[in-house]
């Protein structure tokens, strides 16, 4: 990994973080700039771009491994993988249409926010596909953890800690991924008109079947179940699922590009594109999904999109008052799980906790870890916690 074309850029970035640390000045980390409106707004003295850390430094299709600099555009990585009939397993969401942003999403942001789409339920999250990272901590020290092989228990797994830390523990400079073959075929078994509770029950039945479901969503009255693999597999599994789900209603099987488009819509939450309001992302035990939505709807205006078999709920609600904060967090406190404010104005994101408040013991532990990695709190201050 050391011979990457962006090694010089990594050294320069470390120097800039060291300088910020010494000066006690805060830094906002940016990549392609398409996701700056996620998390709490950062008020930093300096900007730090990962743009120069760009390029695929190693790709071995026969070993299912790809290593890239954090500033590499996601599109470049997807093109390289596509040329070999492979892909990132975790289907990262493109936030541009939901947030109304523009630019080129980078792989560093995908890693830093542990960005995983519908295939999360079967192929794991971004953090599960991350085999190794290099990052610059809050002192400006370059640190390496993990590697480029699929099984590695050598020392602590800081790769997971970096994934989803939103740049608050370090600036990720390079990531090694496990990749997977792109399937020959994909199809969607679709049911119409199910109420939320029945829909999540149908998704649970599908996910409890032997047919290796890779997507399970319920959007706008349509219940969608995806299967992928060789053509012979989808030809077997589609009808088998439709038969197994017959108690929930008649199923239609959608194939090819039409099926792929449905899942791009689920991944990017297209149901809420170009619509006013705050958007929340709730992660919860799937069977609680319809219950939390019913409870919220009884007291306010909430529209859901269900993914991950009901375990991930996107909620659209008017951005007035606390934008639904108190109502939603009352439910997550009672039922488990957690809610993140995924889209709102900077003023709202500064006023309410964007990430679910943690239990005191966990919050204190997380704060101690942050202090170990970034003692002066210079990296993305306030992105996760005020």
């Amino acid at each position: 990994m050391l011979e990457a074309s962006y090694s010089g850029a990594e050294a320069a970035l470390a120097e800039r973080v060291r300088d910020a640390h010494d000066a006690g000045e805060t830094v906002e980390i940016t990549g392609g700039g398409t996701r700056r409106a996620l998390g709490r707004p950062v008020q930093a003295a300096r900007m730090l771009s990962t743009e120069a850390l760009s390029g695929v430094s190693l790709y071995e299709p026969g070993a299912l491994t790809l290593v890239a600099g954090a500033g590499t555009p996601l599109s470049e990585i997807e093109a390289a993988l596509g040329a070999e009939g492979q892909r990132l397993p975790f289907e990262p969401m493109d936030h541009r249409a939901l947030l109304g942003s523009s630019g080129e999403p980078t792989i560093g942001a995908v890693a830093a926010m542990n960005n995983s789409g519908p295939r999360r339920i079967q192929a794991g999250a971004a953090r599960d596909a991350m085999l190794g990272v290099r990052f610059v901590d809050g002192r400006g020290q370059v640190i390496r953890n993990g590697g480029r092989v699929m099984k590695n228990v050598t020392g602590y797994d800081l790769v997971k800690l970096m994934a989803g830390s939103w740049g608050t523990l370090g600036v990720i400079t390079e990531i090694a991924f496990k990749v997977l073959p792109a399937p020959e075929a994909g199809a969607t078994v679709a049911l119409e008109g199910l109420a939320d509770e029945a829909a999540v029950a149908a998704l649970a039945a599908a996910l409890g079947s032997p047919w290796d479901v890779t997507g399970a969503a319920h959007v706008g009255g349509r219940t969608l179940i995806r299967i992928e693999g060789f053509a012979a597999q989808t030809a077997h599994r589609g009808p088998a699922l439709a038969t197994a789900l017959a108690p929930f209603g008649a199923a239609e099987i959608v194939e090819g590009e039409e099926s792929a488009a449905l899942w791009r819509g689920v991944r990017d939450v297209s149901a809420f594109h170009n619509r006013e309001g705050a958007v929340w992302r709730v992660s919860i035990k799937p069977s609680e999904g319809p219950r939390i939505v019913a409870a919220l709807k009884a007291g306010g205006d909430f529209e859901p999109v269900y993914d991950w078999g009901g375990g991930l709920i996107w909620l659209l609600t008017p951005e007035t008052g606390d934008a639904g904060d108190a109502a939603i967090r009352a439910e997550t406190r009672a039922r488990g799980g957690h809610a993140t404010l995924a889209r709102a104005s900077a003023a709202t994101r500064a006023a309410v906790e964007v990430f679910e408040p943690e239990a005191p013991g966990v919050a204190a532990l997380s704060a101690r870890i942050r202090a170990e990695f970034d003692p002066k709190g210079v990296l993305n201050p306030g992105r996760m916690r005020s």
């Binding site: 020392g155 797994d157 800690l161 073959p181 088998a240």
Partner: protein, 478 residues
């Protein structure tokens, strides 16, 4: 094996420590007689032994918390233990430690098929987790070879893998939540039956931390629906390199087998002599298993066969029945037992990029001649996790030391070609002193800081994972 000098102040207070532990726990849960603590003097790395000061077998999370709080207050090191099957010495005691075993905590607390998880106390064995859900058509995916005996506590501590990781991942990919007791005795709930973390991913760093960050007393584990069926194909080649190329071609063709196992000639011969599985006498043998309906399996095995035929296999045997499948697996599953019949052996666990396989096998062969010890290789080829078995004679003076030196050279080679020291067994004491071949001091320092945040007094399993001279300032300051 160098271990820290036992703290004389702790040794001197043994009577008081035992009395206070006995006041906290049920009768019989504290073991302190010299002849009885000997049962805990080692794990599966039997070359190293040291009886603990005392062993405790708490029956609840509250009791675990009480023990840890007391040991924290009295400055007594604690070594956690699951079933004691670690091959790396992860549960090796020190003379001044309280060994904390979770074996009595083995209940299933919750099974939820609609939400596809099981919550267990971590003394439960790996195989009995699957046993608790298989009647409903589910299974727990990570399947270490020791799964009959090993506990979920140890699986979480070591981030254990198994033969089916290529498709299903290792423990960390199947762990949704834990109840963690810190060294201070605080009980933390981290994660739960949902698929991502609320804040920074503490669960991710706890898994694989070798019992150094806290004691995990409960785990929420993802369970999966069993596939319709599975069937293997066996292939023999006259060249390791060709077998390696065949693995790579299968993966590139878009087939994702559930397991790809590789054995070299010494391993094949030993297994055949032991298990009579009908293996051909070839240089390299692959067992590739796929899952699905009978027709899907036929389709995938057809694709794999077509690829294999391009590499001129000496043998190509597709299983047509459950009986034939069992025979194909019989030899592989007997590999460790077969080796144990021939000699004492040390099992290594390095991982390499699959592309480096031919080079690494050639170099291991050369080193085998240099050190004068035989090696047999068995290998999870899909993910590059090697298990070279070095054969030696424990009764021959110096043989163990030669074997360890040889093993260290193999692991350094794994790192040199872009791999790592351990793929699934953990560092423990066994590979502790090789860590600086894998990581720089600064890389290790970042890991030590995580331990500082969880266990500021460095009392939990303190002599493991990192070279002891690297951790000495922290252990001595605390």
């Amino acid at each position: 094996m160098e271990m820290p000098t036992p703290d004389p102040k702790v040794l001197a207070r043994k009577g008081e420590i035992v009395a206070r532990l006995e006041a906290l726990l049920a009768p019989g849960a504290v073991i302190s007689a010299d002849e009885e603590v000997r049962a805990y003097e080692c794990d599966a790395l039997t070359a190293y032994r040291c009886p603990p000061l005392a062993a405790v077998l708490p029956g609840s999370t509250a009791e675990v918390a009480a023990v840890l709080r007391l040991c924290h207050e009295m400055g007594v090191p604690v070594v956690p233990r699951g079933s004691g099957t670690s091959l790396a010495g992860g549960a090796l005691p020190t003379a001044d430690c309280v060994l904390l075993g979770v074996a009595r905590m083995n209940a299933v607390l919750e099974t939820d098929y609609a939400n596809r998880f099981i919550r267990v106390q971590t003394g439960r064995t790996n195989l009995s987790v699957t046993g608790a859900v298989e009647a409903e058509g589910f299974f727990y995916a990570p399947d270490p070879s020791s799964q009959l005996a090993c506990a979920i506590a140890g699986n979480v501590a070591m981030n254990s893998g198994g033969a089916h990781c290529l498709k299903y991942g290792v423990t960390t990919n199947n762990l949704m939540g834990v109840k963690l007791v810190t060294m201070e005795g605080e009980v933390l709930e981290i994660g739960g039956p949902w698929l991502d973390a609320a804040g920074i991913d503490l669960l991710g760093v706890i898994c694989g931390s070798e019992g150094q960050l806290g004691v995990v007393t409960e785990a929420t584990l993802r369970i999966l629906a069993k596939p319709e069926g599975a069937r293997p194909i066996l292939m023999g080649f006259d060249d390791n390199e060709v077998a390696g190329a065949c693995v790579s071609d299968i993966i590139r063709a878009g087939v994702l087998p559930v397991a790809i196992e590789f054995m070299d000639r010494p391993c094949i011969r030993a297994c055949e002599a032991f298990a009579h599985a009908g293996y051909p006498d070839v240089e390299a043998l692959l067992i590739v298993e796929v899952e699905g309906s009978p027709a899907e399996i036929d389709d995938q095995l057809g694709k794999i066969k077509a690829i294999a035929l391009r590499h001129n296999p000496l043998e190509l045997r597709e299983s047509a029945s459950a009986d034939e499948s069992a025979r194909i697996w019989a030899g592989r599953k007997a590999a460790f037992g077969a080796m144990g019949q021939i000699a004492d052996y040390m099992c290594l666990d390095g991982t390499i990029p699959v592309s480096a396989l031919p080079l690494v096998l050639r170099r291991i062969g050369e080193m085998s001649r240099e050190f004068g010890l035989d090696v047999a290789n068995v290998f999870h080829a899909g993910d590059g996790n090697m298990h070279p078995l070095i054969l030696f004679d424990a009764n021959k003076p110096g043989d163990l030391e030669t074997c360890e030196a040889f093993g260290a050279e193999i692991l350094k080679l794994c790192v040199e070609v872009g791999g790592c020291l351990t793929g699934e067994h953990g560092v423990g004491v066994e590979k502790r002193d090789l860590m600086l071949h894998q990581y720089d001091l600064a890389d290790l320092e970042a890991q030590l800081r995580v331990k500082d945040a969880f266990d500021p007094k460095w009392l939990l399993n303190p002599a493991k994972v990192f070279p002891i001279r690297v951790t000495a300032p922290r252990r001595e300051a605390a």
